[in-house]
Symmetry: C2
Subunit: 205 residues, 2 copies
């Protein structure tokens, strides 16, 4: 089983390779400088996925970038549903950073009658109750959840019923899903609490 942290680092290696597009070959030491991981960590992470590069010669930038894209599944386009077009949801819809890696927010959903039927960054806001119909045959498997905590679990159940297999959850509450469904949580308050822990630790030591 491949460690979670290896997958997290993989994307960072990919970003670093994108930034080195002018060079043909890059060593693990050079990649280490660009990503903050150690050269040994990079070599170890890549061995989980096969033989890359030539020992002593480094990695072919274009080839390794291509291989990592395949491993991560970002060599194709993913349509993404976004549920909850409030303060945060509205900021995510127009974000170009997702498009460059193949993630396109294509379907918006909300439960507020005042928002349903309106447009946000050129996309129509659909009624969450119509999600099964709207997503039917679109092949949409990923959803971003930017609803409040209270309805988060109920909305999650609706998403899974509509064929969603992976959810990026911004609500600060835990959502439970069957084992074949993947959830990643982004909790900004938790990140700030980690920062306050480190500052407090520095002060106390």
């Amino acid at each position: 089983k491949i460690p979670t942290d290896t997958i997290k680092r993989l994307f960072r290696y990919y970003r670093a390779l994108l930034e080195s597009r002018e060079t043909k070959v890059v060593s693990s030491e050079e990649l280490a400088k660009l990503t903050g991981s150690s050269a040994a960590q990079i070599r170890k992470d890549l061995t989980y996925f096969g033989e890359f590069g030539t020992p002593g010669k480094g990695y072919n930038v274009e080839e390794l970038g291509h291989q990592i894209k395949g491993i991560l599944g970002i060599d194709r386009e993913w349509t993404v549903a976004l549920v909850g077009i409030g303060n945060l949801g509205r900021a995510l819809v127009p974000y170009q950073g997702l498009k460059s890696e193949g993630f396109r927010i294509t379907h918006l959903f909300d439960s507020d009658p005042k928002k349903i039927g309106m447009a946000c960054a050129g996309l129509k806001i659909n009624d969450i109750n119509d999600i099964k119909l709207v997503l039917h045959n679109t092949g949409t498997k990923i959803a971003i959840l930017t609803v409040p905590s209270d309805p988060a679990q109920q909305v999650t159940n609706i998403l899974i019923d509509a064929g969603i297999q992976a959810i990026l959850n911004f609500a600060p509450s835990r959502i439970s899903v069957p084992p074949e469904i993947r959830v990643l949580n982004i909790d900004i308050t938790n990140e700030l609490a980690r920062l306050s822990y480190y500052i407090t630790k520095n002060i106390n030591s």
Copy 2:
């Protein structure tokens, strides 16, 4: 040295304790159900910080919550500077979820002359070049960075010079800082790439 993942989980235990405020005592098994960690992991994590609870009896909800707040440093108020009042920055300013844990966004900065002097959610947008003056004697140590990738490093250097010790960075580029400064990165595209990895893996297996 306490593992990073332990600190991440600590905040989740804290949130679970908040949700169990009506009960007096909670066992590690009950906390496990609420947080998704195992009971053994919870006990192990807490031993890094001292003796909590009574074996066989569980943990006093109020007392443990109070102790975790102290460890994380969220038993006090932190003023937070936010730099880059664009699409994302504007969504974060009014977010009430931060206030409830003691994080108050109090100072806004941008470099766009059209934005400087305007207000966002009742707060004035200051010129980033005045940050040392504006933050002087405010005790602000934490900053949220929502500027584009290109100026991210330069803005980081300005923040450190103005006394910031910890940064929550949303720009998808690596910022380098001296060892005593803490940076946490939130990269939404990386999270989506992790989700596409898991879906692709499921399809292939």
